[in-house]
């Protein structure tokens, strides 16, 4: 466990050195500029749009971090040949993989936390710009804590994306890993269509295959409750817990597979 912690902290430090946290500045600037411009562009929907945009930006910025850093976690060590000196130390391969994963998840956690704070700060400021009569018409307060449910699920989704990228990077090139991770992420949003495939095809085998893929492929659409929280629709805590558990089990599956593949790799 200590070894995993050491590797994780090093991954986090490396991401700080690589100026990954600079994206936080871009996020803050985006939110501030957009919230200033929105008043001129739209008919009084500033708060809704800032909520939509803020949640989407948190998900997107961190998705890119998860994919592009995730695919390089193992590959970089192999490419630099630092893997030889690392594995000669008293560290198991499983600890190496889990440490790398935990480090990137820590980086994402810091990013998501700071972005969330900035997001709520902008909303709190916007809240002061409207009269009480206008605020009374909003479906939810500007700084509605219910949005945290969507952010929690975004974070679990990012953990899953990171696990996919890390798993793929244990046996394929960075380019292929990135393409496959993005591909899986996109397919994962069409999960409901796979479920209903039998309604549009006559072939039974094709329908069974689609049904099988529906259960096997990661269902990324399940993590998206952004629209619900923005409109203050109920998102039961049981739904958040079940979806987070689904993400957790899927992450465990991918990390186990990643450890297995990486343990069998021959670096001689």
């Amino acid at each position: 466990m200590r070894m995993i912690g050491h590797v994780a902290v090093n991954v986090f430090k490396e991401s700080v050195r690589d100026k990954v946290l600079y994206n936080l500045v871009a996020f803050a600037v985006l939110l501030i500029v957009v919230s200033y411009l929105l008043g001129q562009l739209t008919a009084g929907q500033d708060v809704k749009i800032i909520k939509d945009l803020g949640l989407a930006a948190i998900a997107t910025f961190c998705l890119f971090i998860a994919v592009f850093i995730g695919i390089g976690l193992v590959w970089k060590e192999v490419e630099r040949r630092s893997i030889y000196s690392l594995l000669s130390k008293p560290i198991r391969r499983s600890e190496f993989i889990l440490g790398k994963y935990a480090g990137l998840v820590l980086t994402l956690l810091v990013n998501v936390s700071i972005m969330t704070a900035a997001f709520y700060a902008v909303l709190a400021y916007l809240d002061t710009q409207f009269a009480e009569s206008v605020r009374a018409g909003w479906p939810a307060p500007a700084t509605d804590p219910g949005m945290l449910k969507a952010i929690v699920l975004i974070f679990v989704e990012l953990m899953l994306v990171t696990a996919v990228a890390l798993f793929l990077s244990t046996f394929s090139s960075p380019f292929l890993s990135a393409a496959l991770t993005f591909g899986l992420w996109i397919v994962g949003h069409f999960n409901a269509d796979l479920r209903n495939f039998e309604a549009v095809v006559e072939s039974r085998p094709a329908a069974y295959l689609a049904r099988g893929l529906y259960y096997v492929l990661p269902n990324f659409a399940a993590f998206d409750v952004k629209a619900q929280v923005v409109h203050s629709l109920p998102v039961p805590s049981s739904y958040v817990a079940t979806t987070a558990a689904y993400g957790g089990v899927y992450v465990s599956l991918l990390l186990t597979a990643a450890v297995m593949v990486f343990s069998r790799r021959d670096f001689k």
Partner: protein, 290 residues
């Protein structure tokens, strides 16, 4: 180290200067291309949007507002609002709870040319789509009634929708009396005023502004009626139509020069009193007499 900094500043100055020249020359040569909407199918867009449906709905909403605003301000009597309904349809398909898009969208669509496309059918279709998505939203039923009342002058249909809205959960009681008044004396200015006064209480700023404008139009219509009565009285008394406001002032019908609620002077020509075309209240709605 100092030289590159100076060079950077000089180059930045060059970029800004050339951009100013570019702007002075009128920018990129104009190409007469119509506004484009590459994806018109709401279903296709819902799929393409992945987890960004709400953000894309916002983008289409902003495009709809900009399209409506720029077309309305173009001063082109043949201005077309071709993209307005497709944009609103995409917005509300991507985010079926985008209530403002239904309410404002219907106002935009129903407005008669040149201030709008005059498509009351599409305004009603949009609001009915909203009712399908949120069957308990009495405001949509009220607005359908309103489109029938104000723009279509179909009072029985308007009364039916007001009744339906009143019977929905949370529907205000005054809509029931509004329905009765609409059936009994549909189109009277007083009942129109009651409707707009209720809309003026909306928590949506845009709707409140529109209601204030409509109420000012109703006031202007009352004032024009009074001025017209004075002008007619003058004509009966003197035997010729009023030439200008001075005629009425000298005859004791007026003390000053009459202006509409926005401060723009009324016009009088050959004895007919009208709203000035530059007034923010122009054109006045087609309404029966008060």
């Amino acid at each position: 180290m100092r030289f590159p900094a100076v060079l950077l500043i000089l180059l930045m100055g060059g970029v800004i200067g050339l951009q100013a020249v570019h702007e002075r020359r009128g920018g990129v040569p104009a190409v007469d291309t119509p506004d484009m909407l590459y994806v018109r199918s709401p279903e296709a867009m819902r799929r393409l949007a992945l987890s960004y449906r709400s953000v894309l709905a916002d983008v289409y909403w902003i495009r709809a507002v900009q399209h409506y605003g720029s077309t309305r301000l173009s001063n082109d009597p043949n201005a077309k609002y071709d993209l307005l309904y497709p944009l609103l349809d995409l917005t509300t398909s991507l985010d079926p709870r985008f209530n403002v898009a239904y309410l404002f969208g219907a106002l935009f669509l129903a407005g008669p040319p040149p201030g709008g496309p005059g498509r009351t059918d599409l305004a009603i279709a949009l609001l009915e789509k909203g009712l399908q998505a949120q069957p308990d939203k009495w405001e949509f039923a009220e607005n359908i009634g309103f489109v029938h009342y104000w723009w279509r002058q179909d009072y029985p249909e308007a009364a039916a929708w007001f009744t339906r809205a009143a019977e929905m959960p949370g529907g205000p009681f005054w809509l029931k009396s509004m329905a009765a008044v609409t059936l009994a004396e549909g189109g009277r200015r007083d009942s129109s005023r009651v409707l707009w006064q209720e809309i003026a209480k909306s928590d949506l700023e845009g709707l409140r502004n529109e209601a204030q404008r409509r109420l000012a139009q109703l006031d202007a219509m009352d004032q024009i009626d009074q001025l017209q009565a004075a002008a007619d009285g003058f004509e009966r008394q003197v035997g010729r139509p009023v030439a200008d406001w001075d005629d009425l002032r000298r005859a004791g019908y007026l003390r000053g020069f009459p202006a509409d609620p926005t401060g723009t002077p009324y016009r009088i020509q050959s004895g007919r009193v009208t709203l000035d075309e530059t007034s923010r209240l122009h054109p006045l709605p087609v309404q029966p007499a008060g």
